[in-house]
């Protein structure tokens, strides 16, 4: 058994290397910090939110602390129904992140799994790739509209649409990475030793495809958040009174001209999340694909 362990390809340690690089790259470090604060605040929402995010009051359209007419207890003001903006932003960020994460994990997981099976069992490959081609001809926004029409507007419709839209792209990236790995000597060696398919696929193939797929999914995560927020903005996502950032931005549209903070604050949180994710993704890609670094 010791021999087998020795011949198992050593998985690279992208996380440790990534950490070292990030400390050197000031911008990526800043992005990581901001993202950490946002995610932390969203996770802790039930404990740190100063008010109940759903409780309406008779004090609507209160501006944030830095503008005239603000009230000291509402740091970021209130929305059109007198609900505390800060508390709603915390809860809204939570749902937005859940929506994005669920979609990327579900869609990315299925896409990667299917592609790995296709590469390993060659006979499946043409069918899988043809199916991916067909899925590619339906952009995410159309899937979102269609699913909202079928199952009715809601978080479920959006997560399913975003997951389906993620499958073909992740499948393609995984496939091109896996094909390279399949040609490596250690795959041949593993097979010659008579290892079961299960181990060959998971320990040999999947683990070694991990980094390019992970980079791609990081960059994709930002896009997914944007599309999901857009669908929510259109009214096809989370139903009121629950808060989600895109839907909050949409709620504030009627008050845009006299209480712009109701729309603009949630939009700014979305920008912060997506910008940080994109900057981190770029840094990650530079790290794992040095060829791209100079561009």
């Amino acid at each position: 058994m010791a021999d087998i362990a020795a011949s198992t390809p050593a998985p690279s340690r992208p996380l440790a290397a990534f950490g070292r690089r990030i400390v050197k790259d000031k911008l990526a470090l800043l992005a990581a910090l901001i993202l950490l604060i946002i995610v932390g605040a969203a996770l802790l929402a039930p404990w740190i939110a100063p008010f109940d995010p759903y409780e309406t009051t008779r004090r609507p359209f209160i501006p944030p602390r830095w503008s005239e007419g603000s009230l000291p207890q509402y740091w970021l003001g209130t929305d059109g129904q007198g609900r505390d903006m800060l508390s709603r932003l915390l809860y809204g960020t939570r749902l937005t992140l859940v929506m994005g994460l669920a979609s990327i994990v579900l869609g990315g997981g299925i896409g990667a799994l299917v592609a790995l099976l296709g590469v390993y069992y060659r006979r499946l490959d043409p069918f899988i790739m043809r199916a991916a081609d067909i899925l590619l001809s339906f952009p995410a926004i159309l899937l979102g509209l269609a699913l909202a029409a079928v199952v009715g507007p809601g978080l479920t419709a959006i997560v399913i649409a975003l997951s389906i839209a993620t499958i073909p792209d992740v499948a393609r990236i995984t496939r091109s990475a896996a094909i390279v790995i399949m040609g490596q000597d250690y795959m041949e060696a593993g097979r010659a030793m008579g290892l079961p398919d299960r181990i060959l696929i998971w320990r040999y193939l999947a683990l070694n495809c991990l980094s390019p797929v992970f980079v791609f999914m990081t960059l994709r995560f930002g896009q997914i958040i944007l599309i999901g927020a857009a669908l929510s903005f259109l009214g096809l996502g989370v139903r009121p009174p629950e808060a989600e950032l895109g839907m909050m931005a949409s709620l504030g549209r009627d008050a845009l001209f006299f209480a712009p903070h109701i729309s603009l604050l949630p939009s700014l949180v979305i920008i912060a999340i997506v910008l940080c994710v994109n900057l981190l993704g770029d840094a990650l890609r530079d790290l794992l694909d040095p060829r791209m670094r100079n561009q």
Binding site: L145, A229, A230, G235, A249, P260
Partner: protein
């Protein structure tokens, strides 16, 4: 060239069938009886039964799909539940404005994006390059509705420079141009980032190619090198990108139309979905899917024009 076009058209037939199947399933999956939908809420049970028979809803699903195909090919997409007018007529009115909006966006965003990307590549590492990179990173990280709301609030409302509700008339009239300015600006701003970024990457690659060194060596001015030898080659991946981003453009158009009450297909689709107007929603989604197909076809043809090698390889 013709050969390539014919091949591409043939290839889009299965996708077209897929899109139609999609529209058909949409009507099958909705949690309501299509016959009742067509008949309307006030119809008697006998009428519903009659319509069910007329529509062939008592036949096997694949026969129904055939009937559906026949109807769609004859331009019959059913009747809107809300307005009671034919879906195809409502769509006919909305397609023009959507095409206008996309045209008005691409006509300024694509040239500007390509120019910015090329300049960034030529002045690589300098301030201009950094600014272009910053703009494109910010551009791909900003939701289209944020740009729309900001432009609407300042340019439209506070400064009163441009109208921001609805369409003002045909594009060649002054009112029409003024009304489309803000929507086209909004949609274009999210599109410049990816185009500039891709152009920069492609131009950098071409700038270090052998034929560019030859062009410089024979004494061509830097401007001639960039315009004639770099740009044309760099455009190929950029055109591909525009095709890949067609979905992004479509999504942006849906949101932009909703924000500015632009009477296009996207706004129609969202309104129909929110009102549970299934026939109209199905028709609008079909049209959007078709638009996506057509954009990709056009991009493919441009590709053949820009890169003569495409034709030889088929």
């Amino acid at each position: 060239m013709l050969n390539h076009v014919a091949q591409r058209l043939a290839m889009s037939v299965p996708v077209l069938l897929g899109v139609l199947l999609f529209g058909f399933l949409l009507l099958q999956l909705v949690p309501a009886d299509p016959a009742a939908i067509v008949a309307g809420p006030t119809a008697s049970p006998e009428l519903v039964a009659q319509i069910r028979q007329d529509l062939g809803l008592d036949r096997p699903v694949f026969v129904q799909f055939g009937i559906y195909l026949g109807r769609v090919l004859q331009g019959d997409l059913g009747v809107s539940l809300i307005s009671n007018t034919s879906v195809i007529a409502e769509l006919g009115e909305a397609i023009g404005p959507t095409a206008e909006l996309m045209f008005a966006c691409l006509v300024w965003a694509v040239p500007l994006g390509i120019a910015l990307g090329t300049l960034a590549a030529v002045y690589r590492g300098r301030l201009l390059d950094r600014i272009v990179i910053a703009i494109s990173v910010a551009g791909v990280s900003t939701p289209v509705f944020f740009i729309g709301l900001i432009l609407m609030q300042y340019i439209g409302y506070h400064w009163g420079l441009l109208p921001f509700i609805g369409r003002g008339g045909p594009l060649w009239s002054l009112d029409g141009l003024a009304a489309i300015a803000l929507p086209a600006l909004t949609l274009g701003l999210i599109f410049i980032g990816p185009i500039a970024r891709m152009t920069r990457t492609a131009a950098l690659e071409v700038l270090s190619a052998d034929h560019v060194r030859t062009a410089r060596a024979k004494g061509l001015s830097e401007r001639a090198v960039v315009l004639r030898h770099v740009l044309r080659n760099a455009l190929i991946p950029v055109v591909t990108l525009i095709g890949l981003q067609a979905g992004y453009l479509l999504g942006g158009a849906v949101v932009t139309e909703t924000i500015y009450s632009w009477p296009g297909v996207g706004r129609l689709a969202v309104g129909a979905i929110l009102a549970s107007d299934f026939p109209l929603a199905q028709g609008a989604i079909l049209v959007l899917a078709l638009a996506f197909l057509v954009i990709n076809l056009i991009v493919d043809m441009l590709y053949a024009v820009l890169d003569p090698r495409v034709e030889k390889h088929g």
